[in-house]
Subunit: 344 residues, 2 copies
């Protein structure tokens, strides 16, 4: 199995497909079946490729330790339930969320094209990645996609005194004419957890006003946040209300766990939140009137006229194009960590 990506080992840049192969091999080595491993590896490689490093190969250790300790089932076979003309549910069966979403993709797209809307309600799922890889492909198919996923207890609700919510991101994607989709993906916590972990590893401080320590006092020390501290919501009570909405849709509605409900204390190494995910699709073909694609271009043109230099996702697409030309940079230490995961 190691032979398959020997070619990728020369230098510090690796092409996308060999990286997916390497990550797939690591996940298979740690108990995932080839189908599941391939989906997670591709997702992870996409994040690395697009410069979304907090959800790229940095996460592989967490995937591996979660598999090793039996917290997440890398061989789970998700089950889809066709609940109503515009609504399907998926029980991920304690597996990853992405294969559950993949299972529902075709059914949901057909529902959206027929009824105008579709919901995919995923429960019993583990999601450790960014959310934009889940919505962007639907926009590539001409649909509007909105998704929320809850995570693990690490964020204090506005007005509260202890953590309850997860980082609880919201992602949204719309198709564009002849361009990559317009996509945003934002944590409703003031910063994402991945940034705290990366700052801790790099020995850097956090910005002010985003986190508290174990005593509830404001802190900029990432280690203080990771050791019993917590994040705050972005934008005060407004971000907190959105985070609550994420809990209600991703868990309350799907049948998954709220971010504070699951107990991974008995699984040393567990890092994948065991919660739920909600995806909404809208087919703009039913909108009538002027084509939606024209309207998106009008708004973007006028945003640029109002001085907006960079759209959400612009940086990811720029990184993507560079990676397609030059390969994906993997540092020597990162590469050594991946090799260790492949052996160990």
């Amino acid at each position: 199995m190691q032979q398959a990506h020997t070619g990728a080992r020369t230098g510090d840049r690796i092409a996308f497909d060999p990286l997916v192969e390497l990550l797939t091999a690591i996940l298979v080595r740690h108990g995932a079946n080839r189908h599941v491993a391939g989906i997670i590896a591709r997702n992870c490689a996409m994040c690395e490729r697009d410069g979304c490093t907090s959800h790229g190969i940095f996460r592989m250790a967490g995937y591996v330790s979660s598999l090793d300790c039996g917290w997440v089932d890398g061989t789970a076979v998700p089950v889809i339930e066709d609940a109503a003309p515009a609504y399907c549910r998926v029980d991920a069966k304690n597996g990853f969320a992405q294969p559950a979403l993949e299972l529902a993709r075709k059914t949901a797209v057909e529902k959206a094209r027929h009824t105008g809307l579709a919901a995919i309600a995923i429960r019993g799922s583990h999601h450790l990645s960014a959310l934009w890889p889940d919505v962007e492909p639907f926009a590539g198919d001409g649909l509007i996609a909105f998704s929320v996923v809850n995570s693990f207890r690490c964020t204090v609700p506005h007005g509260g005194d202890s953590p309850l919510f997860g980082t609880n991101p919201v992602a949204f994607a719309v198709p564009r004419q002849g361009e990559e989709p317009l996509v945003f993906d934002m944590a409703t916590s003031a910063i994402p957890n991945g940034d705290v972990q990366i700052a801790a590893r790099a020995g850097q401080q956090l910005p002010g006003g985003v986190a508290v320590d174990a005593n509830g006092a404001p802190t900029t020390d990432p280690d203080a946040v990771l050791n019993g501290g917590a994040l705050l919501t972005f934008g005060g009570h407004k971000g907190s209300a959105l985070s609550m909405m994420v809990e209600l849709l991703a868990a309350g509605l799907t049948g998954g766990h709220f971010s504070h409900e699951f107990d991974w204390s008995g699984h040393d190494g567990a890092q994948t939140p065991h919660t739920g995910q909600f995806v909404l699709l809208i087919d703009p073909q039913h909108a009538g009137g002027r084509p939606f694609g024209d309207r998106v271009e009008t708004l973007i043109k006028d945003m640029r006229f109002a001085g907006v230099q960079r759209l959400p996702a612009d940086r990811r697409y720029r990184n993507r194009r560079r990676a397609e030309q030059q390969g994906i940079h993997i540092g020597v230490e990162e590469r050594a960590r991946l090799d260790a995961l492949l052996e160990g």
Copy 2:
């Protein structure tokens, strides 16, 4: 017509129904038909009753001047189009958004119960009120409701140098067991426009970091905002991304105007934004598993345990109960303004 609410003129408190009658009479006096006037009057009285004063009787002058100058059609008959099993469109025909939503209510609720979801896409509509009155009744019917409405060019996109977006609120409501729905309604601008107008009238300063003057410099002077200045989005780039989402759903998808597209310069007195509105309904009966209502109560209980004293909408419900017992307080000056609108 004035006789009908003579009883309400004693003292400075008025019951809900007489207030609705008074406001209806004012709107009819200025050209709305009785059906439209009744819906807007009731909406406006609900805001006043619940202590949402920036959208209460304070707005009557704006409704009246917009009718008087022919900017909004108070006799418009909205037209509903049944576009797909989960999707309906309403052309408000240059009338108010609330009668258009009322027209679609029954159809949309039936769609949601059957397909699991429903969209109401309203275009050619004028919305000058809060958004919670639009979503709360759906939650009262056991549905989850989400709505966005765009407004008028007054908010600078993050990274931009001039206003483009509206205040662009997002509202969300879920049913509760034996309690009033859990509802939030938030501007994606750092503060709502109504608060700027109220601060200007009261001679008060705005908080820092929410607005800029006509030169793009930070200001706390509400008059500087109203005279060529602009609002900022809440939470920086995140609030801005949400505001962009509101434009894309409420206008781009519905066929309404973006906040910066309509020109009311030829209509002196025009105050009602001529845009669109998007409403999404989800029927949690299709969720399967544990009843959604139980899950909502669990989350609320645990939020209280995490120290959250006040839920979104708690203050509105408290004001509502007080108004039901004691009537709605109307100051002498406010009453004089209403009486002048009724006469003039």
